[in-house]
C-alpha cells in the first residue's frame, strides 16, 4: 500500500506465517521492478526483482508477482521470521533511475 506523509502502512504478522506486501506502481512504461528491504539506519537491501516480460519470480522464501494490467506488484514472504521486520519498498524503472514507493513496515510478532 501507499502512505501519506510520515505514516507508513504497517503489516503485522505472526512468526511463521506468510506475509504479502502490496505496491501500486505508476508508470505503465516501466519494465523493471524491484523490492528492497530497509532496516533502521541502513541502506536499501535488494530482495528480488522482476522484468515486465514475467508475471512471477521466486527466490529463497520470497516471491514477486507482477500484474501489469492493474499496475500492481506484490511481495510474498514465506514463513516470516523476526529478522524480516523492516520497511519494504517497491521500485520501478525504465532505464536508469529507480522510482520508489513510500514503503510498508513489516512487523513480525514472535
Amino acid at each position: 500500500g501507499e502512505s501519506v506523509g510520515l505514516h507508513l502502512p504497517t503489516l503485522s504478522v505472526q512468526e511463521g506465517d506468510n506475509s504479502i506486501i502490496n505496491c501500486a506502481y505508476s508508470n505503465s512504461a516501466s519494465d523493471y521492478f524491484i523490492w528492497y528491504k530497509q532496516e533502521s539506519g541502513k541502506g536499501p537491501q535488494f530482495i528480488i526483482d522482476i522484468r515486465s516480460n514475467m508475471d512471477k519470480r521466486q527466490g529463497q522464501r520470497v516471491t514477486v508477482l507482477l500484474n501489469k494490467t492493474v499496475k500492481h506488484l506484490s511481495l510474498q514472504i514465506a514463513a516470516t521470521q523476526p529478522g524480516d521486520s523492516a520497511v519494504y519498498f517497491c521500485a520501478e524503472g525504465r532505464g536508469t533511475p529507480l522510482v520508489f514507493g513510500k514503503g510498508t513496515r513489516l512487523s513480525v510478532i514472535a
Binding site: 510520515l6 519494465d31 528492497y36 541502506g43 535488494f46 526483482d49 536508469t96 533511475p97 529507480l98
Partner: protein, 113 residues
C-alpha cells in the same frame, strides 16, 4: 561480497556551508547514482552518472548540487550551500549496467542546522 561504502556516516553542518559526501562504488560497476531519503519519506532519485558525466538528474538536483568522480574509485556529491531542507539520508548506489539491480550503500545522514 563487494559492497558500496559511504563516508561519513553522519555529517552535521550549518546552513550555508558546503558539504561533500563520499562514496566508493563496487569496483567493476560503471553506473553510479545518488538518492536521498528525508526522514520517514520514500527514497528519491537525485542523479545518475556514467562515463564521467551526468546521464540523468531529477528536479531536486539543482545548481546547488554537483557530482564528481575524482579518481578511479571515489564518487562524490557536493552541496554548495546547504539549506535546512537538505537534511536527509543520502544513499549512493552503483550498478554494472544501465538497467537492473542497483546496489546501495549504507547512507550518510546529513543534518543541517
Amino acid at each position: 561480497e563487494p559492497e558500496v561504502t559511504q563516508t561519513p556516516s553522519h555529517q552535521v553542518t550549518q546552513m550555508g556551508q558546503e558539504v561533500i559526501l563520499r562514496c566508493v562504488p563496487i569496483s567493476n560497476h560503471l553506473y553510479f547514482y545518488w538518492y536521498r531519503q528525508i526522514l520517514g519519506q520514500k527514497v528519491e532519485f537525485l542523479v545518475s552518472f556514467y562515463n564521467n558525466e551526468i546521464s540523468e538528474k531529477s528536479e531536486i538536483f539543482d545548481d546547488q548540487f554537483s557530482v564528481e568522480r575524482p579518481d578511479g574509485s571515489n564518487f562524490t556529491l557536493k552541496i554548495r550551500s546547504t539549506k535546512l531542507e537538505d537534511s536527509a539520508m543520502y544513499f549512493c548506489a552503483s550498478s554494472p549496467g544501465p538497467g537492473g539491480q542497483q546496489y546501495f550503500g549504507p547512507g550518510t545522514r546529513l543534518t543541517v542546522t
